[in-house]
Amino acid sequence: MENLISIFVNSVFVGNILLAYFLGMCSYLSVSQNLKTSAGLGLAVIFVLAITTPVNWLIYHLLLAPGALAWAGLPEIDLSYLKLILFIAVIAGIVQIVEMVIDRYSQALYNSLGVFLPLITVNCAILGASLFMVERRYGFSEAVVYGVGSGAGWALAIISMATIMQKLRYADVPKGLQGFGIRMIVTGLMAMAFMLFSGITL
């Protein structure tokens, strides 16, 4: 249990998937102008990560990992090189299914999340979390916690960024730095602030 809590805290703060590993920057930079859209996208990312990371864990450990096909009588086969193409296909498929399910059962949720779901397929945070989960050899419950935690960390980062950008509207930014430049530097300062959490161990 302690292990799971520490994975969660670590993936939200110290190892924040956006601020420490730079994943999901594209949508982060294009959406973080507006608080409401940022919150919607953040929520959608948490949702999708919480589903895709465990599903990809199952696929990797039941089909792809070296020796994973032992149950089918093929213990020597190592298909781990196929993980990239299979993970991205799974993510694209799940995003599509989630979109259809939400559309069918919760119109309110669809109206707030629906537009963001297609964007999420190409968000590198989603594929990145699955790849990190394999690289760090997480177990199943750890993978679930890691998925939710990195989604929460990403959402936290994009929402704080949107809030800062709203305040920055009243600031006098040098001309060449306006737009992309200042956003990168603000993100840098934010990343520094998040690193302060690295002293916390559970």
Partner: protein, 207 residues
Amino acid sequence: MGRPWKKSETYRAVSAALYESNPISKQILGICSALAVTVKLSTAIVMSLALTFVVAFSNLVISSLRNQIPRNIRIIVEVSVIATLVIVADEFLRAFLYDVSKQLSVFVGLIITNCIVMGRAETFAMSNPPGRSFVDGLANGIGYGSILCAVAFFRELLGSGKLLGFRVIPDAFYAAGYQNMGLMLLAPGAFIMIGLFVWLENTLLGD
């Protein structure tokens, strides 16, 4: 033919990719990997080569298939072409440059979701002949690589006083109290460096 080289379509595509609409500094694409692999110059170079390979060949393949691909499933087709090429690049690095591939960790795999590759496939390769698409891919890869290597150059120089693993800052400097700037090795250093680069570029070139 007979047209001067400067006016040809290919020339325009190349100059746009390298300079006027550089994928990183002007179009803000592919930032994810640009930041993560720039702690050292060597990883940045390998990453640029891998991306150039993937984007050039994915453009070539998708452009040659462009009349066969049904419009409504084109994204899936594009992703599978790109993913296949990324697997080739990843396996190649693992076989011949194992150390670098360990340092790049998941970021080679993430070329799949790199917006530059998808973006070029969508906007250029789907509507242009194979030869020109290939050149466009090469140019975009180099445009991406040039920013990547510039950022990595400063991060490695300021952060660890080395270039490509060789110490370049003389010992006398350290004896005189010079210190490496640890910030450059950490994540915030990357963000700030790119921010400053964009500032420099906007100021020098104007809008």
